[in-house]
Subunit: 253 residues, 2 copies
């Protein structure tokens, strides 16, 4: 299968390298920033372009891995005829393709990607969707060559999964940011809480998160919570978060 | 060193078993609930009691591993003379001992414990404190027999660490709870986001959390955020959290 990769960000980079490793033929990389396109193309040993009109028209599959709000611009600018086009976004419905393509679908890898860190695709759940049984099968075959976990998921379900992922990843990471800043303000090292962070994540792989909740909010230990809030006096936003979440934890027992 | 363990909860259980494994002599377990005391004592092959007056008076070290608000009751009820007493709490100052003991300190393992899951003590940071150099050395020797990471930390710093831990563990776990409930409400499995949860935690072991933040809030992608908020329409508390944290992430870039 001859693949064109549209995008050169974190996901496009990791996905491109994994496709190459699994012996798929990435024939071209597009990015609106020539430097980024070139950088990824050199890793994949393929052609590149920063011009949508120059995207190859004879590929079997076009993978759009750009930020959500750039997908429509790509679709309206590129000329891909009968080729199968997929996007990789959690929060974009499959109907975004309707005005532009005949064969389309979604290949959404449920993971957070960085350019530096190699992703282990074999553990990543892929949520797939397509406009026909034949296209779904093509996408499924590709996804299964990368991961053992491939799921047929509707656009509505995918949005819900994406929302859950925002809580479990982005919002969680924000609390790591707060913890890091609190410790730094006290002249302490973020390293201190890293074993706790890893254990907290590992625990819910084996146990329902509600069952393993601990801490002052769950016990409704108001003396400890008052002490904490005093430390947060100069951080009104964190203090507001602290109260809201503690109350949530207590009432959600 | 002859040790009395006061408490039979998650931490007391894990700590007791680790002390035994490291060839320390736990001579007695106290819990106000006889059944719990007996259960742990049978694991440690030692005596037990549910009566504070019957706590052995000839131990070298008393480790109080009960919930924060029960520590004072233990101290006022137990008769331990010159023995060294430590508590294991993050949010309780060392001065709680002053009216009751001559030799005292703190041995705070910065980790979340469950009864079922064996803790890997070698990676757990221990925050220690004592009322004298000699007692500090005793506590340090014990802590270093369990872990490579032992830190002298004041009561003020320890409270700050505990607060950071509440964000990085309890509040994070609450977001796992929300993600699980969102998925369940949509007929989807929590397993879907487990690889994401593990990757999000692993990432910040190597990179500062602020640098690896991703998602719609960071990009200020209001279209996606509106879609998410629509899904949260019937969950006013989660919706409030969503807005507050998204705004926090965006302004904290």
């Amino acid at each position: 299968m001859r693949i064109v990769l549209i995008g050169a960000g974190n996901l496009a980079t990791q996905l491109g390298m994994e496709l190459k490793e699994k012996r798929h033929q990435v024939m071209q990389v597009y990015s609106r920033t020539a430097k980024n396109a070139q950088e990824l193309a050199s890793k994949l040993n393929c052609a590149f372009t920063d011009d949508l009109f120059s995207v190859a028209q004879n590929a079997d599959l076009y993978i759009i891995a750009v930020s959500d709000n750039a997908i429509e611009a790509v679709l309206s600018g590129v000329n891909i005829g009968e080729g199968l086009v997929v996007h990789t976004a959690g929060a974009i419905g499959i109907d975004i393709f309707t005005p532009y393509c005949k064969n389309f679908g979604v290949l959404y890898p449920l993971q957070t990607f960085s350019k530096q860190k190699k992703a282990d695709f074999s553990t990543i759940p892929f949520c797939i969707e397509a406009n026909s049984g034949e296209n779904l099968q093509t996408i499924k075959d590709l996804a299964e060559s990368l991961s053992k976990k491939v799921f047929n998921v509707s656009s509505e379900q995918r949005l819900l999964i994406h929302l859950a992922a925002v809580f479990a990843c982005n919002f969680v990471n924000h609390f790591y940011v707060i913890a890091e800043q609190l410790l730094r303000d006290g002249g302490l090292d973020f390293d201190l809480v890293k074993p706790l962070i890893l254990e907290t994540a590992s625990k819910v792989v084996e146990h329902p998160p509600k069952e393993v909740q601990t801490g002052p909010a769950k016990r409704n230990d108001s003396i400890v919570m008052e002490k904490h809030l005093k430390l947060l006096e100069n951080h009104s936003e964190w203090s507001e978060l602290y109260k809201l979440i503690s109350s949530n934890i207590y009432h959600n027992k």
